[in-house]
């Protein structure tokens, strides 16, 4: 049978935890030469002044790689709240081989994502069979006017620059769709 705990032992231990955390935050350099530096000791990132590095594969904003898009409409149809708008027209592209017939392709006229509606579920990125949509970790795109949250294909294309290079999945993780931005 274990010895009965001393009454109040847990209380003292709790006070010790908070007390130690306070000292560690105030004096990150240790108590031998106490130099108060809470900014260095706290885990807080003072956001507007300094930015936190988002983790790999963070979901910030969705980027569009226009040349990969075939206007197949899968993303628009899978989108739970219908925030993707696609319009395209048929056009001729030069043949793959010399002397071949010109190919018929869909040229995008409009590819808009309404971020006022988007719920960042990522289904469009998952469902895209041609690697045209990517998650970007960029998160600073708030707007004073709600209409400005409708990102057109030019802006969605600009987000492409912020998409990090493909990182191999961790060992043992489920093999998923491999999305290679460039």
């Amino acid at each position: 049978m274990p010895a009965p705990a001393l009454p109040g032992k847990g209380l003292i231990k709790g006070l010790g935890v908070t007390g130690k955390t306070m000292l560690k935050t105030m004096f990150p350099g240790g108590l031998k030469k106490p130099k108060p530096d809470p900014v260095g000791g706290a885990v807080t990132v003072q956001y507007p002044h300094e930015k936190e590095a988002p983790p790999p594969r963070a979901r910030g904003v969705i980027a569009l790689k226009e040349e990969n898009c075939t206007s197949c409409m899968l993303c628009a149809r899978e989108c739970p709240d219908w925030c993707i708008y696609i319009e395209a027209h048929k056009t001729k592209a030069p043949p793959r081989r010399a002397g071949g017939k010109p190919r018929k392709v869909n040229k995008l006229d409009r590819f808009d994502i309404d971020y006022a509606l988007c719920m960042y579920c990522g289904i469009c990125v998952e469902v895209c069979p041609f690697d045209a949509l990517f998650w970007s970790p960029e998160y600073e795109f708030s707007e004073p006017h709600i209409a400005d949250l409708l990102h057109d294909k030019a802006l969605l294309g600009q987000w492409m620059e912020t998409v990090p290079d493909f990182e191999p999945y961790e060992a043992g993780s489920q093999a998923k769709v491999k999305k290679v931005p460039r």
Binding site: L11, G14, L15, V17, T18, G19, T21, M22, K24, T25, M26, P38, V39, G41, A42, V43, T44, Q46
Partner: protein
């Protein structure tokens, strides 16, 4: 009538000094505690920074907060009892304000030197219960009412151990006068050794512990914050208050924390006196201690209120029945035994 002559009358002059001085002390100590402990020390305990934007290290944050509260709309519930609803914060604040009066800051630095000092303090501190009940009752809100009743039950339950813990000190000092208690500690001796006087925290440690626990409950600070338990009662008796009236409750809460710490410092830590300081009559030390004494007292207040906030941000809230059990079955019997033991030892030595 000559108004000026009335003001220069010693009675009115004294009254003005008391009102202005006690108000200034209450607001300054509340501001200091809120910034140093509630904003900063507590943030550090959670590895946060606290306010950083307003002024260097957020030191102007209090002004920003007061400005924010002053701008807010003054809202009354339709069914509220207007008069009681308006008066409640002032009643609570008045209790704090009256408590400041009897604290001795130095040999001559006091607002009122009552012979019944500590008795007066314990009586006026119970006025806040009435204010809180008024707030809870007049809000016409079931959360407010529940919070108000919980507060009444809790404050009355913890008033008893608070008073009984003080009785031990009073027996040892042989006086109710706050200045007399300071003197009894500075000039006392523990079993014949008088080098550091007799700060009652040494001989009345049980009383000190009970006083601190009951004080925490009287201030409705966590772990005794059942009356404003935000996860059950929205904000208890504060639910319907906004703007200036909420600010008054807020200032009163933290000013009372400071004032109760000052009373605890006077009762158990020797007040404005320093260990090793003795005097025949108060006049011997009045030159130096009238200046140094207030600083010493403020230092002791900061130490004691640090304990309040340290406990507040370490422990989770009590359940209502646990709270009552602690007071009635544990603190009150112990404090009664403490009184009996103190009385026996006082007579024996």
């Amino acid at each position: 009538m000559n108004v000026l002559a009335n003001i220069l009358d010693p009675y009115w002059a004294k009254t003005i000094v008391r009102v202005v001085g006690a108000l200034a002390f209450a607001i300054l100590i509340a501001g200091t505690l809120v910034y140093v402990y509630l904003f900063k020390a507590v943030s550090f305990m959670q590895s946060r920074l606290g306010p950083m934007e307003a002024g260097p290290q957020g030191s102007m944050q209090l002004l920003a907060e007061v400005g924010k509260f002053l701008q807010k709309e003054d809202i009354y519930p339709t069914k509220a009892d207007r008069l009681l609803f308006k008066a409640a914060p002032y009643v609570v604040f008045m209790s704090t304000f009256l408590l400041v009066l009897i604290i001795p800051f130095g040999p001559d630095a006091w607002f009122a030197n009552l012979d019944v000092g500590i008795y007066f303090a314990l009586s006026v501190s119970s006025i806040s219960v009435i204010g809180i009940l008024m707030a809870g009752w007049s809000s016409a809100n079931k959360y407010s009412l529940l919070g108000g009743l919980r507060a009444a039950g809790q404050l009355i339950a913890y008033e008893l151990p608070l008073v009984l813990a003080v009785v031990g000190v009073v027996i040892q000092a042989g006086t109710l006068n706050m200045q007399g208690i300071v003197g009894a500690q500075a000039n006392g001796e523990i079993f014949g050794f008088g080098g550091i006087g007799n700060p009652y925290i040494l001989t009345q440690f049980v009383g000190f512990a009970i006083f601190m626990i009951s004080m925490q409950a009287e201030l409705t600070q966590t772990p005794f914050d059942m009356p404003i338990a935000e996860s059950e009662l929205v904000a208890g008796y504060l639910t319907e208050y906004s703007g200036m009236r909420f600010l008054l409750f807020f200032i009163a809460e933290f000013a009372t924390a400071g004032v109760f710490s000052a009373i605890a410092a006077v009762l158990f830590l020797g007040g404005w006196s320093l260990p090793g300081l003795h005097w025949e009559s108060l006049g011997d030390v009045s030159n130096v201690m009238n200046v140094v004494g207030p600083l010493v007292l403020i230092g002791k207040v900061m130490v004691l209120s640090f304990i309040i906030f340290w406990v507040r941000f370490t422990f989770p809230r009590f359940r209502e029945d646990q709270l009552q059990r602690l007071a009635w079955k544990f603190l009150i019997p112990i404090s009664l035994v403490n009184i009996a033991a103190t009385a026996v030892l006082k007579v024996a030595f």
